[in-house]
């Protein structure tokens, strides 16, 4: 089941620079998208969401972009901070019922 893909297993960014995390999905029925971050041995922490009627949503340092024609989702973190270092998952769903998760991207923000 590869309905949601995160092709970069890891990303390393300097503190203060922009982090861009990418996610691709295959199911055109998906209408709700989420980004989570996860620290080891903890549950996923919700970051930001976007519905398919929008193409951008901002919350502080986090912005999610949705390109429906390309079935592509990205998360921008500006400026990146060392505390942002974690594994980031994107997830997609339709009818708000069953989320499909990507395999995650491990972000390392270097001081």
């Amino acid at each position: 089941d590869q309905q949601v893909k995160q092709n970069s297993p890891s990303l390393s960014v300097q503190e203060g620079r922009i982090s861009i995390l990418n996610c691709d999905y295959t199911n055109s029925m998906f209408d709700y998208f989420l980004w989570y971050k996860k620290y080891p041995a903890e549950g996923p922490t919700f970051l930001i969401s976007i519905s398919s009627i929008k193409d951008k949503n901002e919350d502080g340092r986090f912005t999610v972009f949705l390109n429906k024609s390309a079935k592509h989702l990205s998360l921008h973190i500006v400026p990146s901070q060392p505390g942002d270092s974690a594994v980031y998952f994107c997830a997609s769903a339709y009818n708000f019922n069953k989320f499909y998760f990507g395999s995650g991207t491990k972000l390392n923000v270097k001081p």
């Binding site: 041995a41 549950g43 922490t45 919700f46 019922n97 069953k98 395999s103």
Partner: protein, 112 residues
């Protein structure tokens, strides 16, 4: 900030035994979920629950699994006869109409 609470944080059980994982979702949420993550793998959907019934379940959620909301506050996942491959982190989540998911911190299940 409201939290989803899961107990226990770690459960060790012998193969073939029954386990019950407990979750207290956020009180005004209407949708409830169980996910699991086997070590080193992606988070996998198990089941969603709404209006006191299962709304969707994955192929992982076979007859060995069941969910209940026995008293209007707890949401439990029961595994009737555990197998070694059931060892994983199990996450409960809840959501409202307009809220994103809130996940619990997980129960680490180890089947020996």
């Amino acid at each position: 900030e409201p939290e989803v609470t899961q107990t226990p944080s770690h459960q060790v059980t012998q193969m073939g035994q029954e386990v019950i994982l407990r979750c207290v979702p956020i009180s005004n949420h209407l949708y409830f979920y169980w996910y699991r993550q086997i070590l080193g793998q992606k988070v996998e959907f198990l089941v969603s629950f709404y209006n006191n019934e299962i709304s969707e379940k994955s192929e992982i959620f076979d007859d060995q699994f069941s969910v209940e909301r026995p008293d209007g506050s707890n949401f439990t996942l029961k595994i009737r006869s555990t197998k070694l491959e059931d060892s994983a982190m199990y996450f409960c989540a809840s959501s409202g109409i307009d809220d994103g998911y809130t996940f619990g911190s997980g129960t680490r299940l180890t089947v020996v």
